[in-house]
Structure formats: C-alpha cells, structure tokens
Amino acid sequence: MSRVKQSRRGFLKTALGSGVAGGAALFGPWKHNRVYAAASDKPIKIGLTHDASGQFANSGQAEKRGTEMAIAEFNEKGGVLGRKIESVWMDTETNPQTGTRVAERMITRENVHFLAGAIQSGTANAISQVAQKYGCVYFNTNSSSPTESGKNCHRVKFVWDGSGENFSLAAARNAISTFGKNWFLVYNDYVWGQNTNDATKKVAAKFGANIMDEVAIPVGTRDWSSVLLKIQQAKPDVVAAAVGGDDFKVMRQQVSDMGLDRKPAWINNQQDWPDVFGLGADAAFGVFGTTWYHYLDLPGVSDFVKAYQERYPVTRISVPGNVTYNGYIAMRELLRVVEEVGSTDNMKIIKALEGRTMSAADRMQHFDAVIDPASHHVQQTIYLAEGNAAPKDDTDYFKILSWSDPDAIRASADDSCSLESYEATPSYDQG
C-alpha cells in the first residue's frame, strides 16, 4: 500500500514539475545515456527502438525501462569487455514507416552495435528488414505475433516474448473442458491478432470446440458496443479475444460496463502488464496468459522488483510486469553473450545465441528456456492467470493458475520460418 502511494507521489511530483516548467520534462534533450568510461575504449552502443507514442506508447516505455535497467546494471559492474554501454533511443511512434527510418538512422548515423525493442509487429517487421539488410542483430523484445518467429523471421532477429500461439495453446486446452464448447472469437485485425486468432481456432478445433462466429475488429476501434451486443445475443460459453494495446483497454472497460465480464468466460490471449496496471483486479477478467508476474513464488523475483523500484521510483507503473521483464532479460542476455564471445561481431553473437539455453532460476521462471536455433524464438514458460479475488496488495491483480512447459506449447508457426543463410547475412560489427 505505502509503496504504491510513494511512487504515485513521486510521479505526481514530476508531473507537477513538468506542469510548472511548461512540460519541461518533455522538451528536454533527447535521452543519450552517455556513461563515458574512463577507459579509452569506445563504448558499446545499443539502439533502442521503443515506442513512445501511438497505440503502444505505454508498453514501449515499460520495456524501455527493463532494457535500460539491464544496461545500467552492467555499467555499474564496469560494462562489458571493459567498455561502457551506451544507449540511444528514438520513438518509433508505433509506425512502420518511422520504424524504418529510425532503424536506418540508428545503423548508418548512430552506428549502434545492436538494436532492441518493439511491441507492434508491423513496426518490428519494418525494423527487422532494415536490420537484416545491414546484418545488425535486433532483439524483438515484446512483439508476440506468431509470424515474427514464423514467416517473417530473420537471421538477425531474436524474438523474446511468447507468441500468440503459445498463449493460445496454454489457455485453450483447459478452457473447453472447464467452460464449454461454444466459442466466439474476436481479434484485432492486424497480423498479430489474425495469426493469434488462427492459432486459437486451430487449438480450439483440435479440442472439439464449436466456433460460433469470429469477428475482426479494426485497430483503433473505440466503440465495442455492437460487437458486445452480438456476443450477448449469441450467448457463447467462451469468448476468445486476441485484442491488444489500447483497444484491449477500451474493450475491457466496455465489457465490464455491459456486464459481460462474468457470464461468457473470456480467454484473452495475453494481458500485458502496462495495459492492466492502474485499472484494478476487476479489469483482469477471464483467463489469460503471461510470461512473468511480480508475485511469482520464485527466488530472485522480489529482489528484481526491489531493484526496479529503486531505479524507477517515480514511474506510474510501480512494479515491473511481463513487458519490462522481457526487455530486461533480453538485454541482459545480449550483454552476457557479448561478454562471452568477446566481440560485437554479429555472426559470433548470432551463433552464440542460437540454441542458447537459459536456466529457469536465472530467468525467474519455472522451466528452462531455450532460443530455438531454427526460428530464433525464445521457448519459455507460459503462465495462465485470472483476476485475483484475494489480492495481497493493490498491485496484485493476477492469480496464477498454472504454468506450461515450453515443449508442450511450442508454436507450429515457428516451423514456417526459414532464416536467411549466414552467407546471405552481411557481416556487421561497429567495432
């Protein structure tokens, strides 16, 4: 309780500060976190491509916090290979066109060694195309479209989040036996939503569900009433939703307004922490997946939470969630690999990452994770959760129901990936 208040106050202070100074916080110089090393060695530069505006602004900033936290930790330890790590960030505006330009600028002008960050798959695609062209290793930290590690996979791209299909597999199996066979599907009409929906449909069919209807929702839909009325009329047992970002928030609000949050069981593919935080446990209705939760009963979790809060005392989101977690873990792994191979050469890094196993304890999850060498997709534990009826405190929205072994929920979409050959990938090393 007190923790939340403290952080809220902190946040409000900055808000006040920025209000008084005419929004000075925003108009300040672009964030170059230059930590110049005493050593004469050139710093390792990492390009951060997190969204700060558009549909996924909120999540983009959350993953940025995770990524920067990992970088800072390394810098505090003296950097990597004795070199400081520097990051440069540009807003990709949840916009592929901007993503392309940002990636081009990062590589050709800022001369970054690596790129990291993405929420929306369209933007991630745009960035990874540019990265592949130059051979720059790119970590897609949070875009979970099955196509990211499927047909749009790239040799330089590594996908750190569980894919929509992973979540579908994890959630759907239990749902049919628990809630019923009549399913109604809603999904956001873009690549993540479509593919995730396809995956859900496949899984549901496999376990004998009857698909009553499926409705594609344009991205940016503000008014869900018609669809919700339709659901009311259809009276399904289960509604499986693959809806993301702001749309999801709006939908959730209207679902609970229309009193539909209890009656059909809602299977939401994944609930990103920034989309839930601040809305209370009520908002987390139905069953949904996540890759991590700050009250997981595992060693290291509470330390990580504490470290996050010390580093970000003023942020609106007072505890880290899956998005921040992914950003953090991915960057930490990248820097470790650089340390291990002793170089920033792209081929060496790629080869070191492919097939890399990360221990469960290290990742604060229940199962070991592995980077699939054929799709560059991190195969990891998926947790199933529902809204917490008996929260420990006012950040404790989720009740973790179960966790799935990565092997049991491996995404079939990953099979459609064919990575570019090593030869076809330009060598890239900013030295």
Binding site: F27, W30, A52, N95, P96, Q97, R105, G122, A126, Y190
Partner: protein
C-alpha cells in the same frame, strides 16, 4: 500571393541548375552535416510527392486533404506489381503511376466540380475511404502489417543493370527521376496549361468565361498530381522495402499540406522543395533535442498561416524585394491574406 511575374521559355533555369547540383551532390556531403543517406532518400521522394501535390494546392488552389492515400496506393501498387506480375523496376514504377492515377481519376470525378473548403472536406472523406479499404483488405495490402519484403529492383537498360540496393544507389535513381520531373513540371507550369491552372486558382469562373472547361482541367490536374504521388509512393515502397498503411492516414495527408504551405507552395515552384527539406531536417535535428518537436513545428505553421501564408519562399522573395527596393522605389507590402 504571386508567382514571379518574370517569364520564361527556358527548359533549364539557374534555379534548376542549382537544385540539380545541390541534390546531385547530396550523398557526398549529407553525412558530413550530421545526417544520413536514408534521410536523403526520404527527402527526395517526398520532394517528388510535394511537387506533384503543389500542382493542386499551389497552382490550382485545390486543398486536397486526402493525398496521402494516393501516395500509399502507389506504394501498394509497386509492391503488388512486383509480387504478382513482373519484378521489373520500370514496370513496377509504371504500375504504381498508372494504378494510382486510375484511382485519382475516379476520385477526381467526384471532386472536380467542387472548390475551396467543400473540396477539402470531400477530399478528407475520400482519403479516409481509401485508408479504411486499405486497412481492411488484408489479402491485398497486408492490412495493418503492410506489404513486407518489397525489393529495391535494379535499374535495367537492355543489357546494363544498375543496383539500387544501397541507399546511395537508390538515391540516385530517385534523383534522376526528380530531375526529369522538375524539368517537365517546370515546362508544364510555364505552358498554357500551367497558366490556366494558376488562373483557375485566381478566378475559376472567369476561366470558364475565356473559353476553358474548368472541370475537365481540374479533373486532369488532380489525376496528374495523383500520378506523381503514385510515382513517389512506388519509390517510397522501394526505400522502406515495404508498404504500410499509416501513410494513408489523415495525419499524413495533412502533413503534406503542412510541408507545402510552410515551404511556400502558394507562391513558388520551389516552395514544396523547401518545405520538405525543412520538415525532414527539423524532424531529425529538432527531434534530437525535443520529443515535442511537432509542437514547435505546429506553432511555426500556425504563425505562418496567420502572418505569412506565402511561407519560406514568400519570405525569401520579400527579402530579395527589400534588397532590390533599397535601390529602386519603395513598394507596398502585399502580404494580406487572399484566396
């Protein structure tokens, strides 16, 4: 709001030479001034788009607020032509131009008898319609995801084939097209057709009373301007190796108006070029200092609309004017806003 009264019959003017030299050498110095090659590619493509758009806004006085849609259609057409028909540069670019012009021509049928604000409102509606269709027709456009893996096709002249893979190579392709377009547009705007366009802006009714069928001319200029937007869109698809929906939104359609106006498209052939450079450089340089660069850019735009709708080119002219009039007799300031 005057274009220069000085008259020309030249194919190539000193300004064109300056532009060619300046932009022809850009890859050599762009990095030295702290920018990067891809930005150059983006700038020159948008200059093509803006020059075509200015035929409408600056010359004919038709404020289209839906032109981004045609830019986007060009990009999709390029990508689809490459995937589905024949991956040849000239063919794909031609497809981008022709398909976009076809959509433009159909749209123009609804718009060519409208003027002023009503034209603007209807163009918003059409822009939105194309935007929604593109965002929904996932099978064709890739929906929100866009068309990915569009190739930068090589330039083929018979046996010779030039790569456009690198940004500099692509830049020179765009530059070559830019040069051709600048010269053609320069001639066109100084031909009877161009004169009539400007006359339509000044007084549409009188143009019909000196014997021109205004709606046909408006239809043709709209179509022409969409064709150029299609070309720019095709090149843009090459540049970003993909075609995405965002460019078709109202926001981007508004942005092109903003660029052209700030540059001074109302008074100068070169206004759109200035506007595009200012916008992109401001975005990159101002953007390096503040996330809220659009705030400052928007404020600048408001001030220009209020005090100097002639934009940069108009200021430049005033500056030249004061230099000249210091020698000659003083002249009144015709800065008053006029339709």
């Amino acid at each position: 709001m005057d274009y220069p009264t000085k008259q020309t019959k030249a194919w190539v003017t000193p300004q064109i030479v300056v532009a060619i030299v300046l932009f022809g050498t850009m890859p050599l110095w762009i990095e030295a001034v702290g920018l990067y090659q891809y930005l150059g590619v983006e700038v020159i493509i948008w200059m093509i788009f803006a020059l075509g758009y200015n035929l409408l806004l600056g010359y004919t006085g038709l404020p289209s607020f839906g032109h981004g849609a045609f830019f986007g259609i060009g990009a999709y057409a390029y990508g689809l032509a490459q995937f589905e028909v024949w991956p040849n540069l000239w063919f794909c670019l031609a497809a981008a131009v022709v398909v976009t012009a076809a959509f433009g021509a159909a749209t123009a049928l609804f718009l060519s008898h409208r003027r002023g604000i009503y034209f603007a409102l209807m163009s918003i509606a059409f822009g939105q319609i194309f935007f929604f269709i593109a965002s929904k027709w996932t099978d064709v456009t890739g929906g929100e995801d866009g068309l990915l893996d569009i190739q930068r096709l090589p330039v083929e002249f018979g046996a010779m084939s030039l790569s456009t893979r690198s940004n500099v190579e692509l830049y020179y392709l765009c530059f070559a097209l830019f040069c051709v377009l600048v010269i053609l547009l320069w001639r066109l705007t100084n031909s009877p057709y161009g004169r009539v366009l400007r006359a339509i802006k000044q007084n549409e009714m009188r143009v019909s009373f000196i014997g021109y069928k205004v709606s046909v001319i408006k239809w043709s200029v709209f179509t022409l301007s969409t064709a150029i937007a299609g070309l720019a869109g095709g090149l843009f698809a090459m540049a970003q190796e993909g075609a995405y929906i965002n460019i078709m939104s109202l926001q981007w359609s508004g942005t092109i108006v903003l660029m052209v106006l700030i540059g001074g498209g109302f008074v100068s052939f070169w206004g759109p070029v200035l506007g595009v450079i200012l916008y992109f450089v401001a975005r990159d340089v101002l953007g390096a200092y503040t996330e809220a660069w659009l705030l400052w850019f928007g404020l600048m735009f408001m001030l220009l609309v209020m005090f100097k709708p002639e934009g940069l080119a108009g200021m430049w002219r005033d500056l030249l004017g004061t230099l000249v009039t210091r020698k000659a007799e003083p002249k009144g300031n015709p800065a008053k806003v006029e339709g």
